[in-house]
Symmetry: C2
Subunit: 298 residues, 2 copies
């Protein structure tokens, strides 16, 4: 079995992770957290989200955070949910933007009050605008395996939705098991097809460890030829639908496996654990990653 020699990790902690934190994390702590992640070698990071501060007060400092990282060479990704968010992101000179959509109709309806097809139509003009600005466009494809409302999702629906975005010219698809229900067999199957169907698009896999299968799913995706993975330092964040359960796979656990397998990542494990240690006191639940548990016991 062949594995990639090198894997790129897209760190989602500062955005996807902190977004689910109830207590406001002070802006300077967020900025220092991101700086420490960069020092650890992470070069593609979801740094913030231009969502409505009414709905997500945690992200009310999006412009300040985004402005701080205007001029470095990292890919500093900001999420925008709609036209209004896009305008704010462009005002803050952001050059890499993530858009978000679910495969499931019901999920999108509950989330943004639109069917999946309507949601695609809403995003297409944003993509055109981003392409004109020569921005990097990442599309986060949510509920690609299971939906909390509809149950199992068909591969053909995921592939069709991804095709809409590939045709629209996005640079990357991040395909997610939003509620942590995927198993490695299905992961291998879907990502093999994604890889085959979209050979010219960057493909990232995004797993949640809700039921303990994230690392096995990553292993299966590696076997399918995937070399880009989303993860969150400390495993911070996760899906609000799986109450109290672990969310995003922890960057440090993923990096540990990759390095043990002889796959390089450009990430310094020790500095990464220091970044986790820095943000840990601001997170309302204990950090559950294995690597950090061992670090904290030293």
């Amino acid at each position: 079995m062949g594995f990639p020699e090198k894997v790129t990790i897209i760190e989602v902690g500062p955005r996807d992770g902190l977004q689910n934190e109830k207590n406001f994390v002070p802006t300077d702590k967020k900025i220092n957290f991101i700086k420490k992640l960069k020092e650890a070698g992470l070069s593609e990071i979801e740094i913030t989200s231009f969502v409505s501060p009414k709905w997500v007060p945690q992200m009310k400092d999006a412009s300040t955070v985004a402005n701080t990282f205007q001029s470095d060479t990292c890919r500093n990704i900001v999420l925008v949910p709609n036209q209004k968010g896009l305008e704010k992101a462009l005002q803050a000179n952001c050059r890499s933007v993530a858009l978000f959509i679910g495969v499931s109709d019901t999920f999108n309806q509950k989330n943004i009050n639109k069917h999946t097809k309507e949601a695609v139509q809403t995003l297409l003009p944003l993509i055109q605008q981003l392409k004109q600005q020569e921005c990097f466009i990442r599309t986060c494809i949510s509920t690609a395996f299971y939906c909390p409302y509809e149950g199992k999702i068909h591969e053909r629906d995921v592939l069709a939705l991804c095709e809409s975005f590939v045709e629209a010219g996005v640079n990357e698809l991040s395909v997610a098991d939003t509620i942590g229900m995927a198993n490695p067999k299905d992961v291998f199957s879907l990502f093999s097809k994604l890889k085959q169907n979209f050979p010219h698009t960057l493909l990232a896999a995004h797993f949640h460890d809700t039921r303990g299968l994230a690392i096995a799913n990553i292993y299966a995706a590696l076997q399918a030829g995937i070399n880009r993975f989303d993860s969150s330092a400390g495993g911070v964040g996760g899906c609000p639908f799986a109450k109290g359960a672990t969310g995003n796979v922890a960057t440090e656990d993923l990096v540990f496996m990759l390095h043990e397998m002889g796959i390089s990542t450009s990430i310094n494990e020790e500095k990464l654990l220091e970044a986790v240690d820095f943000i840990a006191p601001h997170i309302s639940r204990p950090i559950e990653s294995k690597q950090y548990s061992l670090f904290a016991q030293r």
Copy 2:
């Protein structure tokens, strides 16, 4: 990729799990725990250990526990460390016996004050005696990937040690990543060779989740054709060398993955979680398995 249609789980919680518990678990609780595991469908269980009660007071009730399960149709396995333990096990009419040895010289020296070769020589007469009694003989091969003292272990040493026991006529080899340091690439490699070299011996894989790779390692072993796995209900137990870290992979997390992949196990997930819930109050650290965390939140 092919996977086995059916997997057998060897439940090690009552022995390998409880053995590391500092507080004595009352005998009737142990017995009821084992009964509940059987009700959940587990048919091969390490039920106790005939070790010296001076060294492991937790197992001082080995004869009582073993006697309780003389007449059912399950494979009730008892561990014996030496001739004295074997005699006690045979007195209690045990029919399935596990022997224990490390690959690493230093590990065996620290554990039983013998080099690996001396340790093999000590076990051979026990195997002969067990074969005369037509007992089922399981050999637990410890430190098959890493040793806490010697570091990385060579495959050739594992294969050579296993060969000694296969030649001696044991029925099963349970090959273990004792300190939870193995990665799925190495797991696939070693288990592929074990499967090839010993086609007529039952082969079980035993993983610890200390660094979060147990489930990925199991997935890799499945791909190597392994269809027998050791695990511990609730993930109870583990290696004393990785202080405070999670130990054995949890049976309920393993069963979840297998069932999601369409692999049958004969185990009822709900009844298994009830067995975990029964023993949880007697375990001195919280149960960390994902499936039990979700169960406890219901």
